[in-house]
Symmetry: C2
Subunit: 242 residues, 2 copies
């Protein structure tokens, strides 16, 4: 691709047209996980200036011939090796001074991963990667604190109305595990019996003929989230609500 500012733009602009095509564009990913009953977010420690050694969201400049969402998926894959992960754009951050040296507008994406047993790949711009509890975060580089908070807010809002939360669980899970996840996400307690009833009545869980193993008490049935069923129900007007 070799395009440049075109002459059809009208002459009202204050600056030469070239100067309107000087924006840098980046994506930043808030990668959520779920571990030991807590919602976590994956951060990297920068190995470069500016903000060297500080924790930051993982992100990168977008290539001139790259779609925004592809850039975001790329960043995630480079760090975690994971593909085809649930991902959602939540906000564009475009204040003039958000980047100390250049004019870079960044678009925030969040993704939800369930398998935490992979190695975050250390790369040239990051010394290390680490999961942090979303209620106990370090100081962050750039305006990443703002971005992260907005991401958390969006996630918490989304999981109420859409069955997005399941992405944080392994494929097979028990009803109690699901309940604990939602308690962590929404910061509230549910009555066990009622939660069970409510979620089962939605008919979006497929019961498996398997039970949890290696537990020292009665093992619970395992369930699977049935995306197909949900989509069908959604078309018929059903709306998820917890």
């Amino acid at each position: 691709m070799m395009k440049g500012p075109n002459s059809y733009y009208i002459s009202k602009y204050k600056l030469p047209l070239d100067e309107y095509f000087t924006f840098g564009l980046s994506v930043d990913c808030v990668i959520f996980g779920y571990q030991e009953g807590e919602i976590k977010v994956l951060l990297v420690q920068r190995s470069l200036e500016p903000f060297k050694d500080q924790w930051a969201l993982i992100g990168d400049l977008v290539e001139p011939d790259q779609n925004l969402c592809d850039a975001a998926n790329n960043v995630l894959e480079r760090l975690t090796g994971l593909k085809n992960i649930y991902m959602k754009q939540f906000f564009a951050f475009g204040n003039v001074d958000r980047h100390p040296l250049d004019r870079v507008v960044t678009v925030g994406y969040f993704s939800l991963v369930n398998s935490l047993n992979y190695n975050p790949i250390a790369s040239s711009w990051a010394k290390s990667a680490k999961w942090f509890n979303i209620n106990d975060l370090p100081e962050l580089a750039f305006d990443h604190c703002t971005i992260l908070q907005k991401g958390i807010e969006t996630l918490k809002n989304e999981v109420r109305h859409k069955p997005t939360g399941f992405e944080l669980l392994p494929l097979k899970f028990t009803l109690l595990e699901l309940q604990l996840l939602y308690e962590a996400l929404l910061g509230c307690k549910f009555d066990k019996s009622n939660f069970r009833k409510k979620i089962l009545e939605m008919n979006i869980l497929k019961p498996l003929n398997e039970t949890k193993e290696n537990v020292s008490h009665r093992p619970a049935k395992l369930f699977k989230y049935d995306v197909e069923r949900y989509k069908k129900l959604e078309e018929e007007g059903f709306s998820f609500q917890l």
Copy 2:
């Protein structure tokens, strides 16, 4: 501001660093209004190529030293003369091919205006401006159809959970007017008595000692939306729901 790509970027990039700073950035505004019981959107007819004579959202390139939201407010003000209007960013559109000639990433904002009695200002890039029913839209330039639909979706979603809808009404309104607005927004019917009860119990409306005039039947009381009260209630955990 005269910044340029800085040397702290690492060398993994495929292209010379300069070429990452060639993005154009624009904002596009979906301006909603409410007239004769219908939700409207303000569109302009382009007077320039590309897409000359076609209807489009109103938008513009962002200045290199301008915040995103300021750019959006500017666009609205230039077209309508209105300041301090409710405005909300809803999505960034960044596909490579969304603009036929340049790489321009655009950020969508929507705003809600109530006073429809002003003159949309014809400008150098727009022949005319016109309100369209959101259920009866013309063909649109660029990817503005996608942008507009996403804006409508976001608005419809937002008005359920936040008292944003009031922005579409005049300062003083009757309960029936409010009901009709929400019926238009959500595409459903409410029971008059129940709607009334529900909204009044929220305690976010301030009853005025005035009534609707020039009606050939019993005039209804006028109410005002009480933002302060809502904000206080919100802090206490109240959440708007219709």
